[in-house]
Amino acid sequence: MIVWSDTVRKPVCEGNSMTVKVKFFASLKEQMGCDGATVEIGEVATAADVWLQASGGKALPPNVLVAVNMEYTDQNQGVKSGDEVAFFPPVTGG
């Protein structure tokens, strides 16, 4: 079970912005109430920034995994315009 803790929403840089695709899966998708979104964000942004923008300022739960363009990464990775940024709980296949 993911427990949310509120946090302050980071300001998105004015002026230059880019668009990234956000995806949520499994229990996170249910908790977010949607399977993703397209978000506009300042040109210099990390996956964590994308999360804050897409989640409306919620803190990134510590057990959530992050993938950019279908590769695992951590929340500090920079993203670029057109990237697909996915957030999901620990995987349970097999």
């Binding site: 899966f25 499994a26 229990s27 279908m70 996915a86 995987v91 349970t92 296949g93 097999g94």
Partner: protein, 149 residues
Amino acid sequence: MKIAVDEAPFSPWEALAQYERDVVQPAFPGKFGAAATFIGTMRDFNEGDGVHAMTLEHYPGMTEKQLQLILDEAFNKWKLLDALLLHRVGELKPQEPIVLVAVWSAHRKDAFEACRHIMEALKSRAPFWKKEQLDGGAGRWVEKNSDGY
């Protein structure tokens, strides 16, 4: 090497027979001395509760990409000839196969070690998620895979 992620149920032993006959034997006649396989099947219980159905969600695109990475790693680490990896998604009932991992090699050490490694890597890295339908009626996400070692 073949990877398939499919909503349709599969028959693991038939899939293995067919793949070995149509792909492995023609490509490596007389060269494989070992085949190690693992088949994961849906149980009707988990963590003390009865389970009568399961939904397997995945991340299309990333799933295949990660499975390919896992197999590539195994082929780099061990001397393998061929591999077959099948995984169900969608709606499952107890006793239906979930996953099949098969590895062919000249010698048994490679097949044993690679098969288990692929399975553990899949469990920890391939983006699948299980939601169980408990006998009481509630839906429950499986939170974490058990440790395989």
